[in-house]
């Protein structure tokens, strides 16, 4: 049974090589709801980091940690609700659950990364104790950055999660409720918050954030 299931997966590059136009989950929203420009009055600035590579890793922590260290050069976060990043800050791994992590890399790297991770994990699937899964979810979600002196104020209006620096230090990341939807909220640096949204919630959350940010003269950085 286990010999059979080990080969029952196909890996696809979901990024089209032809000249098919790609659209971020917010393309329609920006067109429909507009993009207020950033001014010197803006105390919150929103920026979409569209088309990044998102991979979900599932499996045992020790086995996956070895593989990502080999391929990416840095390990899994050791504690729940935290994230690790490489020196450039462009690649990150976030704890989502005891056997699940979210890897975000620059757009275009994810297919190659998935292949390399599968290679590094190579023999792991021979043993039933060491099964793992890698899913490319790049098309299913998008990442927003929130900056500015009132970014935390905006978050406080939107989520029941405690975003005070004592409860939410740099390097933390959680999946939580945001404006009756759910998203991943993380704080990679002192001044920047990141929101990872599902495609199906993206328009609703974009409009929510614009509305919540109106009093801070929110601007969208193109």
């Amino acid at each position: 049974m286990s010999e059979q299931t080990a080969s029952w997966f196909n890996v696809y590059n979901v990024r089209p090589e032809t000249e098919v136009p790609t659209e971020s989950p917010l393309a329609w929203s920006c067109h429909h709801s507009g993009r207020p420009s950033v001014s010197e009055k803006s105390r919150v600035v929103l920026r979409e980091r569209a088309m990044l590579g998102h991979l979900i890793l599932r499996g045992g922590a020790i086995m996956l940690d070895e593989a990502v260290r080999e391929v990416l050069g840095f390990g899994l976060p050791g504690r729940p609700n935290t994230l690790t990043r490489d020196e450039s800050g462009e690649r990150s791994i976030q704890w989502l659950s005891p056997d699940e992590w979210l890897v975000i890399v620059p757009g275009g790297e994810e297919f190659d990364l998935e292949g390399k991770l599968r290679e590094a994990l190579g023999d792991a699937h021979d043993s039933s104790d060491n099964h793992y899964a890698i899913v490319n979810v790049s098309g299913g979600q998008t990442l927003l950055e929130l900056e500015g002196e009132c970014a935390r104020e905006l978050l406080m209006k939107s989520t029941p999660y405690d975003v005070h620096p004592d409860a939410f230090p740099v390097g933390k990341g959680v999946t939580t409720i945001f404006a009756k939807a759910s998203l991943i909220l993380r704080r990679p640096t002192e001044d920047r918050w990141e929101l990872v949204l599902r495609r199906s919630f993206a328009d609703y959350l974009y409009r929510w954030i614009l509305d919540a940010g109106r009093e801070y003269a929110i601007g969208v950085d193109a």
Binding site: P80, L96, E100, P160, Y161, V174, T175, T176, I177, S182
Partner: protein
């Protein structure tokens, strides 16, 4: 609104993030075909409704999405403890004041060792 400690996230989170899933520690019959209708019906449909200490299954639905157990007092609604799947509760109807964590852990280790022995016995 109150906070529930998720044993997997290792922190208190808003109640909104959780869903209750009914009574905990209900083992599926190992051989359903060998069950009488009454036994199968009990397993599927019948649940305890105690006054006082109750063990419940909950899921951290918006969060780590793991199932875990809560021991709750149905009179005061007080949450006495939360614990991971496969772990034994400290607070029970027999021990409403709670047993020391070490005692529960020791019992679990003993039960685990016994299980491993039996599995090995079965293999041999």
């Amino acid at each position: 609104m109150f906070h529930i400690y998720c044993p997997y996230c290792e922190e208190h989170r808003e109640e909104e993030e959780f869903h209750p899933k009914g009574q905990a520690h209900i083992a599926r019959p190992e051989d359903p075909e060998a069950c009488s209708d009454e036994q199968w019906g009990d397993y599927l449909f019948f649940r305890d409704n105690p006054r006082g200490i109750h063990h419940e299954l909950w899921v951290h639905a918006v969060g780590c999405r793991k199932f875990f157990n809560i021991t709750r007092n149905t009179v005061s609604y007080e949450i006495l403890e939360t614990y991971k799947m496969g772990e034994a509760p400290r607070f029970t109807a027999e021990h409403p004041e709670g047993r020391p964590a070490e005692t529960v852990a020791a019992e679990r280790t003993a039960a685990g060792a016994d299980k491993v022995e039996r599995q090995q016995g079965a293999k041999a």
